[in-house]
Amino acid sequence: MDFLPFLLVQCLNALSQAALLFFLGVGLTLIFGIMRIVNFAHGTFYMLGAFLGYSAAHLSGSFWFALIAGPIIAGGVGAAFEIGLLRPLYRRGDSAFLMVTFGLTLVLGDITRLLWGVDPLQISLPNALGAIVFLFDEPFPTYRLFLAAAGIIVAVAIWQFLERTRLGLLIRATSQNAEMVHALGVNVNLVRSGIFGIGCGLAALGGVLAAPMVTASLGMAGNAIIDAFVIVIIGGMGSFLGSLLAAVLVAFVQVFGTYYFPDFALAAMYLLMLLVLMIRPGGLLGKEI
């Protein structure tokens, strides 16, 4: 293959990978930005989304239905958790949240195992998405194109939501000064639960979308949480654009790293993180510490 077509195909690959990473990172960063909570269970919601998506697709026979049902159910679980367990901890330090959500990781992970078993599960795609297209005479899975498009659509949608809508304004206001918003007569607790639910739902959406490529498995949670952490560290904790930028950067490093240095692809991601941290300890678009 010539260099230019190769480059374009790899870039598309990277973009589809970036979309998945973005779904993972953006929920985590939204939750942190607004609530100052690091949700350790984020990777578990990603995994939960994949399993829920499998069941929804299996029962309804429609991947599209799974794409909607999985995130909504996972988001509901997340919101319920926020109301039941996180709310009583708001007067405690950051680390209490980190540890409680770690406890949730164990509990949810085990419940998932009890409900779905230990074997990986495959979600089948509708014909339109399962096909192969030819780009520069090279076969390329349609699904990857779909992923890249989905990533762009969701990123734009979230951005417009935060910038343009009344609710988005409320969310940004809550992240800056929760007490003030509370004083203005807004139910801050409701906003927080909602955000936590939406964040978890976004992770689950990523999970449903990833499942057809990597199958739904219990091991997803661990890898996902590390990826998500790396993305928010690189992008800057709480920065929406930062998570987008970091997802793209990490995806390109992963894709091209795997091609050129297959043995060090994983280390490349960490080296990137180290480099960013040394130059800007708060992340690319984060506040300086």
């Binding site: 680390s95 560290i233 510490i289």
Partner: protein, 305 residues
Amino acid sequence: MRGLVIAAILLAAAPLGLPPFATTLLTEALILGLLAMSLDLMVGYTRLISFGHAAAYGLGAYACGDLLIHTRLPLPFAIFLSASITGIVGIGVAWVCTLAKGVSFSMLTLAFAQLLYAIAFKWTAVTGASDGLAGIPRRVGPFGLTQFQTRNGYYYLVLGCLLGAYAFCRVLVRSPFGAVLRGIRENEPKTISLGYNTRLCKIAIVAISFMLGGLSGALYAPFAGFANTDLLFWLFSGQVLIMVIVGGQGTLLGPIVGAAFFMLLEHVLSQYTDSWALFFGLIFIGFITFAPDGIWGLFRRRVRI
């Protein structure tokens, strides 16, 4: 202090009265207790919440395994050398991780442990990849000593290391250096403004914590006879943190109790169910929410009232 002496005597007498399988279980509990205590230096005394302490354990275990398999070093020397190596690696880890503060620090420790996990899968020559290192011998020596090869002898080696490490930690946290750690725990910006180089201080305590964690891993490798990637797994890091919190952070002894508690719990639970993670998680959430001072804290509150 009197309670401590009694506990030490009871532990020293334990192998004489216990059935062999219980001695083995107790040995493992003490090894894990040492690991949890080493993490307590970071979590309880400096408020550096590490989600990657399995890295220290795994490093120590692999280092010790390789030393015992590939060299003729006597057992205790291999163990102490492994602990030192882990401590030196710990300096590097600490240097990177302390670039960040608060929850970012926690994330970095996790990422670092995960990096080692990935390396352990690739670096077959040193780690045996997914098979791990098997058949790690308890080598004779020094001076032809064979006592450490027996079950009880190894138990006493572990107990000795634990008591020594406890004495070391106790002196450390009560020293002027320990007072600075406490300052960092409560208010780091203020500690800096008083003229302390807190970054250096944090690097030192992370390295010491790694060294003791490495000691614990180094004790585990010849005890179990193998070392594999499970020792570096991120869930294991979390479990050690759970032991520290549930046992009682900032008390040194509490985490040892916590480790023993979870060993026992796992042993009992595994006879009835394979959902140990579920129970671990629920117990942990319960402690964080209702008893952040852990078992040790509950016990002390009882005694005071």
